[in-house]
């Protein structure tokens, strides 16, 4: 198979990336995300620390890389999937309120299923959450659904603030995720009144 002139990634780099991600996933499963150091991951993967940080930037980047696949799945369901999460077909397009409610439920499912990892990707370095591309995606989507309001962008930020991993982690521990979900759905309704 022919390759175009600038091959995206060298063979050894690709191999190492896979090895590192596997090792990190195994260690995280076994000991918990917070208890695993970058040194431990490098050692388990059989690579140097420099390799780790060059490929993934920092611990948040490593967590984001591990989440990448699941995140894309959700994003594609939003862009191209069936209603109410996706846009639906011409003859049964869901209302913004229905889509926003579906987004809240789907995002909370995703978040709660991978809470330690998402939390790490958002809090490892200050401001990490707002820099990564995923946040931009969620914000754009919610903004579009809120286009009937005075300031859809500001309102979207507010809704996403309540979906921050740190926040959901703390509040769900106190109230349980059922009350968190119900309150978020109330908010979605209030914003699409």
């Amino acid at each position: 198979m022919l390759r175009s002139s600038p091959p995206i990634e060298r063979a050894d780099a690709a191999r190492n990336r896979a090895v590192v991600l596997d090792a990190a996933a195994a260690l995280f499963r076994q000991h918990g995300v917070d208890a695993v150091s970058m040194d431990a991951i490098a050692a388990a993967a059989g690579v140097g620390k420099g390799t780790l940080f060059r490929r993934f930037g920092d611990k948040a980047g490593l967590a984001a890389a591990l989440l990448d696949e699941q995140e894309r799945t959700l994003q594609e369901a939003i862009l191209f999937g069936s209603a109410p999460l996706g846009p639906g077909k011409p003859d049964d397009d869901p209302t913004p309120r229905e889509r926003l409610r579906a987004f809240v439920v789907a995002y909370l499912d995703y978040l709660l299923a991978h809470l330690p990892l998402v939390r790490m990707s958002e809090t490892a370095s200050p401001g990490a959450r707002y820099r990564i591309g995923a946040y931009r995606f969620w914000h754009r989507h919610v903004s579009l659904l809120l286009s009937g309001r005075d300031d859809p962008q500001a309102d979207a930020h507010i809704l996403l603030a309540a979906l921050a991993a740190e926040h959901v982690h703390a509040v769900a521990a106190e109230l349980g995720h059922i009350r968190v979900r119900r309150a978020m759905l109330d908010l979605a309704d209030a914003l699409t009144a």
Copy 2:
């Protein structure tokens, strides 16, 4: 002046606390909160690191101690001050909506005036924000104002999520604090509909 039998704090401890807080405030003003290490503060104050961490727990605790006075001022204005921020007198008691709007404005003023310090106190260690007593105070106050809703506690957490230093920092940088304030007031109205 006579002292009661267990004197709250030893003389040297009190002296050191004051010296440390002064040194920290000066260094923060001069170099910015993020650029000052705990070692530097200890050296400037002329005390050892152990003293710093024993008295203040961690960097978040030190930031919280520096904010303490301003925080208490705001809390007292809420509890005992005049309407609409405070409860007001029997003949002119403000509505919950008016009080919530006043709280949002007052809290944003406080937050924006001390953003780096509050941000440090909330993000230095994961979950720090939800452990400190101040959060409990704000949450209790907002919960009471939202007592007309299905789940005032959950709703109060949502409103406070949008007032997290990290979030306001990122969003205000993008949209400006005027739009942040307006959107927060809209939310306060929506929750007291």
